[in-house]
């Protein structure tokens, strides 16, 4: 197979609407097993397609209703799928996708695989380049930050923790690397902070919140937490006045515990 994983990632749209050929579909499903972000995107695009499909509603005949309701009386329902741990419960896959166990877990390398190293060694470079482009005006420091971020996301010991229920229904993932002594936050569809406000990142450090920088550039979707991880047990995000605060002044919109340190 010569197709790179980066190319595969762009297939989320075609996959969501069943527009792939069987061989491509199988290859993409294998990729989904390693790419949690792709799974999220597929779910969203399927929900979008379903909305687009609702616009086509037609009036079925009463005869069909009677027939279907009669038939279900004669069809045995499948037993529930085997219980998964709550954190990686089975999704709304179509039955065809039900065999795809791996896609539902958050493997350690999920984000790294998706964002950075998926395309082989070239992936990190390309992605860093794009980030550096985005943050052109900040010059060298942005590039360094992007490089550090890529290192965290692709660190072999990186652990991920989902951050659910972000404001506006977005979702995010915290990536922690003890080896790199760093953490990063990756968000999907985080709404812009209110006028005159900014999101601020914090390390939860033994009962106190230590500032880990501002989430300023709204075009970004991944942020490196400033400062070392140290002995922080978690991270949080609050909405603060522009420029940030020295201590949180509002209830956190995100509060996540880091995975326990491995012995």
């Amino acid at each position: 197979m010569t197709r790179t994983t980066t190319e595969l990632h762009t297939l989320t749209g075609a996959y969501a609407v069943h527009a792939l050929q069987p061989d491509e579909e199988a290859a993409f499903e294998r990729h989904l097993g390693d790419c949690a972000a792709c799974s999220v995107e597929v779910a969203e695009l399927r929900a979008t397609a379903a909305r687009v499909g609702l616009a086509l509603a037609e009036q079925p005949s009463p005869r069909m209703r009677a027939e279907v309701l009669h038939r279900i009386g004669e069809v045995r329902q499948e037993p529930p799928p085997r219980q998964q741990p709550p954190s990686d419960a089975p999704g709304t896959d179509t039955p065809r996708g039900l065999r795809r166990r791996a896609a539902r877990t958050w493997p350690t390398f999920a984000l790294a695989a998706c964002l950075a190293v998926a395309a082989g060694f070239g992936g990190v470079a390309v992605w860093q380049y794009q980030r550096a482009e985005q943050a052109q005006e900040s010059g060298q420091s942005a590039q360094n930050r992007a490089a550090r971020l890529a290192e965290v996301l692709s660190a072999p010991d990186a652990r991920t923790v989902p951050a659910k229920d972000l404001p506006g229904g977005g979702s995010g993932t915290v990536v922690v690397s003890r080896d790199q002594d760093r953490a990063a936050f990756v968000a999907s569809r985080l709404p812009r902070a209110p006028e005159g406000k900014t999101y601020q990142l914090w390390y939860a450090d033994h009962g106190t919140m230590r500032s880990a920088g501002l989430m300023d550039a709204s075009s970004d979707d991944a942020w490196l937490l400033e400062g070392p991880l140290g002995r922080a047990s978690g991270m949080g995000i609050t909405v603060e006045p522009s420029g940030g605060s020295t201590k949180p002044t509002s209830e956190p919109v995100v509060l996540v515990n880091f995975p326990a340190q491995q012995a």
Binding site: A14, V17, A43, A49, R51, R65, L69
Partner: protein, 194 residues
């Protein structure tokens, strides 16, 4: 343009099929009958959009709805709505049928299928459906021409992206990308979550 379109009662309207399907998973046929009334119209419309043939569409729609009953235990509301789950299944089955028929049928018939746009005359003039349709139309208009055609040919007609590329005389990579960014733009316009 970027502001999501919403109907005030949407949250309630969508949570209902979720609860009904969850109930149906426990063998509750009354809940399934209620669910049927909510989803049979959209399923039929989508299947017919792909297959065109009325009797074949009805047959596939029935199969899909019986399958919803059979597989109800596999639905997990944490990962998406019942409506999405059912519409995804419906689209899959319609596309499978179209492609197996396609392998057997001549190109001429295929061309006829491609020729028609979704037939709104058959659409139920029910308030909810009408609002939904207006929103979708409005959002489809925010797409570029190639995005819009890629999305509608793939989703409404059930074509593979290779077929779409051939039809639009566009490179494969272009169609692949337009399909994705077109859907992303629709997602944002319709204010859809997973």
């Amino acid at each position: 343009m970027k502001e999501p379109v919403r109907i005030s009662s949407r949250a309630e309207a969508q949570s209902e099929p979720d609860a009904l399907l969850t109930q149906a998973a426990k063998g509750d046929q009354d809940a399934f009958a209620e669910l049927y009334d909510r989803v049979a119209g959209p399923v039929l419309g989508l299947v017919r959009s792909v297959l065109r043939d009325p009797s074949q569409s009805e047959e596939v729609t029935q199969e899909v709805l019986v399958e919803v009953w059979r597989l109800a235990t596999h639905f997990n509301p944490d990962k998406g709505s019942a409506m999405t789950w059912i519409m995804t299944l419906a689209h899959r089955r319609a596309v499978d049928r179209a492609r197996s028929a396609q392998a057997a049928s001549d190109r001429e018939e295929r061309a006829a299928r491609l020729d028609r746009t979704p037939d709104y005359d058959h659409v139920v003039e029910q308030v909810e459906a009408r609002l939904e349709r207006e929103q979708v139309r409005r959002c489809l208009r925010t797409l570029t021409e190639i995005q819009r055609q890629s999305v509608t040919l793939a989703y409404y007609k059930g074509l593979t992206y290779r077929e779409v590329a051939e039809l639009l005389a566009q490179p494969l990579g272009t169609v692949k990308t337009r399909l994705r960014d077109g859907l992303i733009r629709l997602r944002d316009c319709l204010g859809v979550g997973a």
